[in-house]
Amino acid sequence: VDALFKYDAAEQQLAQSCKPWLKDPHHYKHVRMSALALLKIAMHARSGGNLEVMGILQGKVVGDTFIVIDSFALPVEGTETRVNAQAEAYEYMVDFLDTNKAVHRPENAVGWYHSHPGYGCWLSGIDVNTQMMNQQYQEPWLAVVVDPMRTMAAGKVEIGAFRTYPKDYKPADEGPSEYQTIPLDKIEDFGVHAKSYYPLDITFFKSSTDSHLLDLLWNKYWVATLSASPLISNRDFAVGQIADVAEKLEQAEGQLTHGGRLGRFVEKKKGAGDDSALSKICRDTSKLAAEQIKGLSTQVIKNALFNCRLT
């Protein structure tokens, strides 16, 4: 695994000169991300709070796999509402990469990451345009999206890696993708561009030093877990989720009263992953409920452990 951290400029040059992405838009299928890069991305995203943040991935490509070795934050925020927020940080990016090389960190930029606080890992219209432009001029290039709020609520990192297809490319039907909850105000943006990109699977790796350090941290991790109250720290997010479900219910109800057949909302299309509006709402509420139960269980266990007197 430590070999993954080694960077051979000549090898990279050769790999890129063949331009395999031109022959097959689906060429890159996998991402291996170092624990260091993941931690830095997660911490940066978390520090942004409700604002979207953005950064650059550094690493290399090996065959059909992106190896992300490191990452660095860019000094921009609120990236979803601006057409090209990255443009503000070009100078910083160039300076950073040049300085890296000066201190013998030869890895190139291989992609960008940004956060979607609370609304899941996918590419919006602006993201798709940004990534398409990047894939035109900066290949090989990867887009990574992380959701710090769902990470906190679910207790595992919500992260996705994507690449866009070329403009007029029609991808083969890939079948239903894994369901994810999308807030009502983002559903249109999610749906319109969903066929313009594909996900890559992400796995993680750690160096031997990382493993040792993380093992040491693990011995103290239990303290942080026991003294945390997810119900309180994720309260705003949970309230937002409940409000979103309420809005979706109102919309579904409105569609029913305005002439929709009842059957349309309870039938499931045979064989397809397509769900009715109500069944999607049910899945969203189940997820919400599961997170609440997890939070409450934590409080009950803490109460049993630390508050109950043994007689």
Partner: protein, 305 residues
């Protein structure tokens, strides 16, 4: 195809002279800007999309206008034409205004009011234009839902020296900024300067202005009272008690007003209540207990037991 495009452009210009805005927009939208069949400059595509959006806006059709301004949004970054950028910003601000996204519209109008295009720019912007943009920014900010974001915008506009020259608008802005309760006569005077879509009826009843004033007065009341019964609050706002409670609930849920509602006693408590202080202290105690367990285990290990 080129002669077809020219014909469409001429027809659209003629329809525009006749003030047939939507028809002109429809004619122009028939020009194929998307397919790769003809190599079109980004600036041309941008100009056409903005033009179509502005034509739809003239006919109070923000839905279609927004569709074309979004297409323009995808092209604006690659274009360096100052005049086009200015047109795009103006058009987008007006669309946001029409769609009642008042805070976003206000921010864009304010940005426009501070623009000073260079001498080389085709589009000229004089002091009157900047004043109009500033007035629009003030109006939209006042109409925006009460909350911290609106407060920040109000502060920026209030502290801008140029706002003082609007003798009809500035006193109202001052009252809104200082979070004082607005009375009926002042609201009516303000409403005379509004556009038709600002006075449109909302699905839940009342106009945009009415809703905004009620929310403002509720936020103002939250500064005056520690708590208030829903009946009394309804009387203060001029709405039914249930509506007052629903409004307060919306504002609290959206984080625009700190408070809590006791539905059983029909009381609204204003002000941020830290309801989790004891729970957070509990977590601290647990952390301390765990730390002691850790030390204990380290001692046991060190002793080789």
């Amino acid at each position: 195809e080129d002669s077809c495009v020219l014909l469409r452009e001429d027809l659209a210009a003629a329809l525009e002279r006749e003030e047939e805005w939507s028809r002109a927009a429809q004619v122009l939208s028939g020009i194929d800007l998307e397919s790769g069949g003809r190599a079109l400059e980004a600036a041309y595509k941008l100009r056409q999309n903005i033009k179509i959006a502005m034509l739809y806006l003239e006919d109070d059709d923000p839905v279609n206008a927004e569709m074309y301004i979004k297409k323009a949004a995808a092209l604006i970054s690659s274009c360096k034409d100052e005049a086009l950028e200015l047109q795009y910003k103006t058009c987008y601000a007006r669309i946001l205004d029409s769609k009642r996204r008042f805070l976003e519209a206000a921010m864009r109008y304010y940005e426009l009011s501070q623009s000073r295009p260079s001498a080389a720019c085709e589009l000229k912007m004089d002091e009157d234009d900047r004043d109009t943009a500033l007035r629009s920014a003030i109006t939209c900010t006042i109409l925006a839902p009460a909350g911290p974001q609106r407060s920040r915008m109000l502060a920026a506009l209030y502290k801008d020296e140029r706002s003082t020259k609007f003798s009809d608008l500035f006193p109202f802005l001052q009252k809104v900024y200082l979070e004082r309760i607005l009375d009926r006569s002042e609201v009516e005077a303000f409403s005379r300067g509004l556009k038709p879509h600002h006075l449109a009826l909302l699905p839940g009843g009342g106009t945009v202005l009415d809703r905004s004033v009620v929310q403002h007065n509720l936020a103002a009341a939250s500064r005056l009272y520690a708590n208030i019964g829903t009946d009394q609050l309804g009387g203060l706002l001029g709405v039914a008690a249930e509506e007052a409670e629903a409004l307060a609930a919306d504002m609290v849920a959206e984080g625009r007003m700190p408070g809590s509602i006791d539905q059983v006693d029909r009381l609204i408590h204003f002000g941020a209540k830290v309801e989790v202080e004891a729970l957070l202290r509990w977590d601290d105690s647990i952390r301390a207990a765990c730390a002691k367990v850790g030390e204990l285990l380290d001692s046991v290990t060190a002793l080789g037991l």
